[in-house]
Amino acid sequence: MNEPIRRRPARPVTVDPVTTPRSTSILGTRVSRIEDPRLVTGASVFTADLADRRLAGAAHAVFVRTPMAHATFTTIDTSVAAASPGVLAVLTAPDLGLPPAKPHFGAAMVEPYLAEGVVRYVGQAVAVVLAETEAQAVDAAELVTVDYRPLPAVVDVSEALQGKALLFPDVGTNIASAQDTAADPAFFDGCEVVVTQQIVNNRVAPAPLEGRAAAAVWLPRNSGYDGEDAAVRTPPSRSENPFGAGGSGPHAAIDDDLRLTLWLPNQGAQTVKKDVVDAFGIDADRVHVITPDVGGAFGAKFGAEPDHIVIAAAARVLGRPVRWSETRSENLAVMPHGRAQYQTVTIGGMRDGRMIAYRLDVTQDAGAYPRLALETPHGTALMAPGVYAFDRCEVSTRCVLTTTTPVGAFRGAGRPEATAALERAVDLFAAEIGRDQAAVRRRNLLPRFTSPFTSLTGAVYDSGDYPEALDRVLAAADYPALRAEQASRRRRREDVQLGIGLSTYVEITGGGKENATVQVHSDGSATVFTGVSPHGQGHATAFAMIVADRLGIPVQKINLVWGDTDLVPRGGGTGGSRSLQLGGAAADGAALAVAELAKRRAGELWEVDPADLVIDNERAGVSVAGIPDRFVTFAELAAEEELSAQHLFAADGATFPFGAHVAVVDVDIATGKVRLVRLVSIDDAGTVINPMLAEGQRHGGLAQGVAQALYEEATFDEDGNPLTATFADYGIPTAADLPTFELLDMETPTPYNVLGAKGIGEAATIGSTPAVQNAVIDAVSYLGVRHIDMPLTPQRVWRAIRETE
């Protein structure tokens, strides 16, 4: 077996030959997370915890959410609620004072901020109650009555496609977008075997630890604490706060000079700002968005949702700060769900194991309104042929609205669905021709490539070695021994059968641009301003390591600033596993620019050509090459004049992490219950900056991938009522349900950034789901089972077994 590829791109750092050369870089080492002391001692500040003076006297918002999946209404009676104790206002759509909502993602169906005459999923907000306390708001919200006239619920996607009941009768269809390819009648010509299967990629709830929340206040511009210096200036105490407790009362005239500050947990403050500016139709400089600490997001906290806009509008209407934080049940019923694809795979090939043609048809359940689910099928389509050398690949996709929770992005957003479909197809093909799943994969994998490879769907894969990844996980799992064990259990008709599942995958991350600014301070510390947006991953540590590596400033003295549109006006946020490869590369570029600037300044100081100067990483400063005594620290230079530089990094292309997983399961044949016994994975995301952080992303990714395969599904009854709106009903696994993961390292750098890094945030989720699903089906395949949809609950597995009897 080959050694893992561990190659770091050559770096242009100059090392002073006279002082002791640095033998090692901090990059690639297990630096402990510098953000953790705050996070684990409760010193973190989440939106619901904010004690900001600007929020003094805030009203508490509680949404009135419809219990109907689909209904029209003419009257919302808010009178009793409005008169109940502590209530300041009850707002419905016309009260918000917002311009009409705009279409998104090119769909003709428009989502209102609060329902206007019709509700389209259980949980949609029809009104918002604003009260002195949260409890008063909750009490009053129960008193709002709406004269609903029920319409048929549309839960089933095939019914939605038929369009007998329309969510938007004016539009004339439930299909929000489609990319249908005319099926080529000769597509499978020449194939000896063609297998087809319908597959449900189950709908899941992102379920971050922290739900959605927001706090909003409109303050006069130049009031002293809304501007760039907001973070440093201390506003007056509550009693003298002219914008706090008293306010200007409900329905105060909207002052053009007011500026919004909106706090919310999110993956990208700058994207939220754009959404808010669009919604209100005001100048961009009138909106300031801050994301405090964020307790998980998984793709579901990107951009402003209608609820966030309503909170901002309510603060303006009320003339008073407003805060809101949702309950767990609201979170499970209203935060956009993920996945929810209905797929048909058809795969053709030869009896000798060669796969030739692959057709994928996807109907995306988008839920009630066009959200990010309108984008995810594009990712599915792009990644459809995955790691295999097909001759032909054909994909059709469409997004259809149903009267259910809107569907958005969730960890992988489109790519896991592609891999899940394909890896099932490969196993179905292998089963049909009676060949081993590993052998069929090995035979069809694209060979190792070092210069970009263009796939059948036009994706340009940057670098990859898929056979190596598969060979290594098979060896680590001892695949032949597992197959022998399986054979022996089958022979002995044991109660608990063994299943072995494989997946090999490639996915797409990053691409595009990101900016960073590095500023060194006169006390020797540094601040990195980034346009990406951590919410658990460990950016503060990784970015500090990158800057420390360039400048020699200790990691502990490097502070990361993100998620404040006044401090970081531009940025793409964190999503699609883009942070390190784009934001990290930008930070690296900014650190290098600071080094260059420092050399220029030192050159001016000493009247030396900057080309004769070198960066001294040991002492965090600049010296003259060969004359280590001629030295000035960055801190000293910063004391003279601001020492800061910005860098905009634009990647040459997206990167394509890949990997291979082996899952081993026990299946109790009598009950259908699955126990995951082993999960062996390679998730190659290029050069690893901090193995501990990368492993953290892989652990979480594996767990969520397993969860989709075995446990989680957000479901609705036929009337559209959510059945999984508490954690008692929505079954997330705990550590006790998961084995110790067996992680193998493999690093194939990308040529597209100086770090060599691809994205690791979603990779393990993408690989693990199909490996586990395939393992369970493999365990019972000897009984004639070919496919079981996820989640592979005991009842489903048992039923599949029973149907073969």
């Binding site: 009950t671 999984t724 079954g731 005991p794 009842q795 039923r799």
Partner: protein
């Protein structure tokens, strides 16, 4: 997740609690560990006007052996049962069941009295107490009365308790030497059982198979007539009326009852 407004009284004794209950009738609710009541209040499925907190009453929190009977205070925590030598030695089935409830936090807060009074048909303790032929001791305005476990559970979340009564004790025969096993099935490690089977000697009780915990009488009859475990297990679901819901349908629950009964009998008697 904010409950509707309510008043709160911390009871200083069982007698005090009974007084307050007597005064407020069905507007009052006892609060013990809060592990069932508080979630229901937060979802506003329960809206009591006054809570009478008996969670701290030492007089309800005990486990003792009284001759051939084990007496468990209504305020004993699951964790108390798991840690109790008396329970482990004299009624090991109850220790086995208590150990499997929820997670550690639930076991440190939740009480035996609360579990029985709440009477979730899929609860762990109710089935175990039923298999042990336990007796429930109830204090009320008219004094103390006892109800056999078989008569205590009336319907979904409904028991023989009146709204002005307190479950003070559970009495179970000390049958330490008797073969027993608690076979519990849930999809994940933390989670309510879908179905569970408690076996003590030839008595078999089922959780999750109908509106109350149930005795698998048809299966017990097979054993009494000298039938084998497989034959008994075949009839374990006879006469049961499990629900169909998003976790599983009735068919699967019946199947589980048969499989788990067979396993519980085998495990109990192979030890």
């Amino acid at each position: 997740m904010i409950p509707a407004p309510f008043d709160y009284v911390r009871a200083t004794s069982v007698a005090h609690a009974l007084d307050v209950l007597g005064e407020h009738g069905d507007h009052a609710k006892l609060l013990a560990g809060g592990q069932s009541l508080l979630p229901m209040m937060k979802l506003r499925l329960a809206t009591p006007e006054i809570l009478v907190d008996i969670g701290d009453l030492g007089e309800l929190r005990f486990v003792r052996r009284d001759g051939e009977t084990v007496v468990i205070g209504g305020g004993a925590r699951y964790a108390d049962l798991v840690a109790s030598d008396v329970i482990r030695q004299s009624v090991p089935l109850i220790a086995r069941a208590a150990r499997r409830v929820g997670d550690a936090q639930i076991r440190y807060r939740g009480t035996v009295g609360g579990a029985l009074a709440h009477a979730d048909p899929a609860g762990d303790l109710p089935a175990a107490i039923l298999a042990m032929d336990g007796t429930i001791v109830i204090s009320g305005p008219r004094g103390i009365r006892t109800v056999a476990a078989a008569d205590f559970f009336v319907d979904y979340y409904t028991t023989a308790l009146a709204c002005d009564e307190i479950l003070t004790e559970i009495r179970v025969p000390a049958t330490g030497a008797e073969k027993c096993w608690y076979e519990r099935f849930s999809e994940r490690s933390a989670g309510w059982p879908l179905v569970a089977v408690a076996v003590a000697g030839t008595r078999i009780a089922l959780a999750g198979m109908g509106p109350t915990p149930l005795r698998a009488t048809a299966a017990e009859d097979v054993l009494a007539a000298g039938g084998d475990f497989a034959g008994a297990a075949e009839l374990a679901a006879a006469g049961t009326t499990p629900v169909s819901d998003h976790r599983a349908d009735a068919d699967y629950r019946r199947h589980l009852a048969r499989v788990l009964t067979h396993r519980a009998l085998q495990r109990a008697h192979s030890r």
